[in-house]
C-alpha cells in the first residue's frame, strides 16, 4: 500500500494552492502534518484491516476518509484545510489505483463539511465515498476539464476589458465572470462543431460544464449533472428531433443572448449572469435546449423557482419576453443622470465651489 508522507502533502498543497514548493513548505505546520499522518495511520490500524487499500473500494474509501478527516482536524496548511485534505485523499486513492466520481460536487462539499465539523465520522464518509470509487483510468483527454479551467486561466494572465452586451435600450450590461466563462465555452463548442455562432444547445452545455455560478447551482439542485445534460442533448440529436417552434424569420431572435439580456432587465439587474442565460434558453428561437431541460424535469417553471430559491430574488412578475422595453429606456437613464448631476452639484456647493465656475474660467 502506498501512503502519503509530509513531502507528498507539501507537493499536493503547492499544486492546489498554486504555490512554489518553497512557499508551500513555508506554510506547512510540520507538527500538524505529522500528527495528521500518524492519526490516519493509527485509525486505519484500529480498523483491524491489514491493508485496506487492497480490500476493494470499501477499504480505499475508508483510508481516504480517515486521511481527509485527520487533515481537516489538524490543519497542516492553515487557511486551506479543506482543499488540501480533499486533494490529498484523492491523491492517496490514485496512487493506489482508485479514482472517485464526485460529480455533482455539491454532495461532496457537504460530506467534507460534515467531516470537518465532526457531524460525520470517517466511516460515514467512507460509506458515501466507496460506491463512487472505480479502478483508476487516465482521462482520455484533458479537454473536459481544461474547458472549464481555460477561460479563468486566460483571464488571470491576460485581463481584458470586461465583456458584456451593449444594446441601444439597455446600454452596456457586463457579464459576470461565470457568465463570461459560459459565453467563451459556448463559442468554443460552436467552433468545434463548425457553427457560425453558439445556439441554445452550446449555451446549455457550457452552463452545465462550468460548474460555476447561479445556473450551475440551479442545475445541481434540480439533480442535473453535466453528464446527464450532455447525454440528453446527444440523445435528442440522435433522434433528429426538429425544433418544436418554427424558425423565426429574423435570425437575431434565434440567439440566446438577447433573451438573456431581457431576463436581466426583467429582474432589474445591471449585469448578465448565468441564471439569465439559463432562462434565456427557454425563449431562444431554437428550443432544443429548453426541450432537453424539460425532458429532464427542469421546465421553465422549475428553473425559475429554483433560481428564486438560490438567489433569494423572487424574479420578475412576468417573464421577460412578455415585458416591454420601457422600464430601462433612455428617459429613465436621463433622469438618473440628472439626479446624479444635482447630487454632485450640491456636494460641490457644500465645499464652497460653485458648479460651472471652473468651466467658465477655463473657457
Amino acid at each position: 500500500m502506498t501512503t502519503l508522507d509530509v513531502a507528498d502533502l507539501v507537493v499536493i498543497a503547492g499544486q492546489v494552492l498554486g504555490l512554489a514548493p518553497g512557499a508551500a513548505l513555508d506554510q506547512l505546520d510540520l507538527a500538524a502534518a505529522g500528527a495528521a499522518l500518524a492519526e490516519a495511520e493509527s485509525a486505519l490500524a484500529e480498523a483491524a484491516r491489514a491493508d485496506p487499500l487492497e480490500a476493494g473500494p470499501d477499504g480505499a474509501g475508508l483510508a481516504a476518509a480517515v486521511l481527509i478527516r485527520a487533515l481537516l482536524y489538524h490543519r497542516p496548511f492553515p487557511g486551506h484545510s479543506q482543499q488540501v485534505a480533499v486533494a490529498a485523499g484523492l491523491q492517496l486513492l490514485a496512487l493506489n489505483g482508485w479514482q472517485a466520481d464526485l460529480d455533482p460536487p455539491g454532495a461532496a462539499v457537504v460530506v467534507v463539511e460534515g467531516l470537518a465539523s465532526g457531524q460525520l465520522s470517517p466511516a460515514d464518509a467512507a460509506a458515501w465515498l466507496s460506491p463512487r470509487l472505480s479502478l483508476y483510468s487516465a482521462p482520455p483527454t484533458q479537454e473536459a476539464s481544461m474547458r472549464t479551467r481555460l477561460p479563468r486561466l486566460l483571464r488571470a494572465v491576460d485581463p481584458r476589458p470586461q465583456a458584456g452586451v451593449r444594446t441601444p435600450v439597455t446600454g452596456f450590461l457586463p457579464f459576470t465572470d461565470d457568465a463570461h466563462d459560459v459565453v467563451v465555452l459556448a463559442r468554443a463548442e460552436a467552433d468545434r462543431l463548425g457553427l457560425d455562432r453558439p445556439g441554445s444547445v452550446q449555451h446549455l452545455l457550457a452552463l452545465a460544464d462550468t460548474g460555476q455560478g447561479v445556473a450551475a447551482q440551479v442545475l445541481r439542485r434540480l439533480g442535473l449533472s453535466p453528464e446527464a445534460v450532455r447525454q440528453q442533448v446527444a440523445q435528442m440529436a440522435a433522434q433528429h428531433q426538429p425544433p418544436a417552434r418554427p424558425e423565426p424569420d429574423n435570425p437575431f431572435s434565434m440567439w440566446v443572448m438577447p433573451r438573456a439580456v431581457g431576463e436581466a432587465v426583467a429582474h432589474g439587474h445591471d449585469y448578465i449572469g448565468t441564471e439569465h442565460i439559463l432562462l434565456g434558453l427557454f425563449h431562444a428561437g431554437d428550443d432544443t435546449a429548453a426541450r432537453a431541460l424539460a425532458s429532464l424535469g427542469a421546465g421553465e417553471r422549475e428553473v425559475r423557482a429554483t433560481i428564486a430559491a438560490v438567489t433569494g430574488n423572487p424574479g420578475p412578475v412576468r417573464p421577460a419576453h412578455h415585458r416591454g422595453r420601457k422600464p430601462v429606456g433612455r428617459d429613465d437613464e436621463i433622469r438618473r443622470l440628472r439626479r446624479e448631476v444635482a447630487r454632485l452639484s450640491d456636494l460641490l456647493r457644500e465645499h464652497g465651489i460653485e458648479p460651472g465656475e471652473g468651466a467658465q474660467r477655463s473657457a
Binding site: 507539501v10 492546489v16 518553497g22 500518524a38 483508476y136 487516465a138 476539464s145
Partner: protein, 82 residues
C-alpha cells in the same frame, strides 16, 4: 521519538516531531556536526524530499489528473474560518 525544539527564523515556533528513533539520531548527529538546530536540518531534509517528489512523474501526473477532474469540487470548498 518526540522532540521539542525551536525554529530560528522570522516566524519562530515550537514544533513537535514524531520521528523514527534511527532517523532522529541521524538528524541530531547532522545538526550537531553542522552546528544547526534539528528543526533546520529537518526542514532542509523535507525540502529535498519535496524536490524529489516533484520529479516523480507518476506522482505529478496523477496529481494533475486529479486536480483537473475535481476542479469544480475544489473550487467549492471553503477556506478555514478564522
Amino acid at each position: 521519538m518526540t522532540e521539542s525544539t525551536s525554529q530560528h527564523s522570522t516566524r519562530t515556533k515550537n514544533m513537535v516531531l514524531r520521528l523514527d528513533p534511527a532517523l532522529a539520531e541521524r538528524l541530531a548527529a547532522v545538526a550537531e556536526v553542522e552546528g544547526r538546530s534539528v528543526s533546520d536540518v529537518a526542514r532542509e531534509a523535507i525540502a529535498a524530499l519535496v524536490e524529489a517528489r516533484r520529479k516523480d512523474q507518476r506522482f505529478r501526473r496523477l496529481l494533475e489528473d486529479n486536480l483537473a477532474r475535481h476542479q469544480r469540487l475544489l473550487d467549492l470548498l471553503r477556506d478555514d474560518q478564522p
